[in-house]
Amino acid sequence: MKNMRELWASPFFGIAVSIVAFWLGTKLQARLKSVLCNPLLIAILLIVGLLSLLNIPYESYNAGGAIINMFLAPATACLAVSIYSKIEILKENWLPIVVGCTVGSVTSMGSVYLLCRLFRLDEAMTASLIPKSITTPIAVEVSGSHGGIVPVTVIAVIFTGILGSILAPFLIRLFRVKDPVAAGLSIGACSHAIGTSRALQIGETEGAMSGLAIGVCGIITVIASMIFMK
């Protein structure tokens, strides 16, 4: 019999197991209809559990994982299509969008930095958390290029997104945000795509604005990280 180790290291294993885990995640979310059941989070937990249980090295899984990972850059590039499809709204409201996203991005990064200092987290942990409010593909780039731990960033980004989508309606009431443009942008600025899915349920303008904020905040955070995180 062939060594099982070699079989785990086939790229087909990593890809197949990822697809099955993600499929289970989406099924579970459809069944339970809870934002807590994020398919990505479920898939990660399932695979981490499986690898630990069967003692499969991460490197073996990653033979296939690396191939999936390669699609991250093209997926990020395609965010341009979603910005472009909302270009009319962007032109009409460009000033509030630019001001809101800039203030939001800098506030998020600054408050994370200060709290990390307060909790005495180390440099790597701080760099991992600073981009946690922006969309995963860009957050991963910012974290990785400034000495952050990419997987920790992925977890923090998902958690923040889930939190934002749960809190959004409550925050809108708490801070008396009556304008749908302001509400949408604020949701997008603090909780990226997961928050946007909730914003879309609140209203069409909220959803469009939140979606725009994903791209704009991503770009602004990259620029701000170059200035502040040398």
């Binding site: 299509v81 409010s133 977890i155 304008d179």
Partner: protein, 117 residues
């Protein structure tokens, strides 16, 4: 052939992004450069959304799936999470609320100033 062509366009733009990243005197993520390049192509009419629609729908619609390997890598950092999961959750929660409030406030202020003019 249609899908292959769309793959070709997007992968070519990603590669151009890597080229530009290499040429720039400062560090800027290649994938974000590729995103800006694609946006410029769409705005100037060099590319039409139709040229890449199926491929971009595929990538954007399944975005979360592509992060699974990056997330699974957390298996190598479980000891770090074990010691700092609590500050991590607290920090994420507090900053999410702060970011929402400050963003909403700054937009309200901007709109008020715009109306006054």
């Amino acid at each position: 052939m249609k899908i292959i062509k769309q793959f070709g366009i997007i992968f070519a733009i990603c590669w151009l992004g890597a080229v530009v990243e290499h040429l720039l005197p400062f560090a800027f993520p290649a994938s974000v450069i590729a995103m800006l390049l694609l946006l410029i192509c769409l705005l100037t009419g060099l590319l039409k959304v139709e040229h890449i629609r199926e491929k971009s729908d595929f990538l954007l619609g399944n975005m979360a799936f592509f992060f699974i390997p990056a997330g699974v890598n957390v298996i190598n950092y479980l000891d770090i999470l074990k010691t700092s999961w609590l500050p991590l959750l607290v920090i994420c929660t507090i900053t999410t609320v702060i970011t929402f409030a400050v963003t909403a406030f700054s937009i309200r202020l901007t709109m008020r100033l715009l109306k006054r003019k």
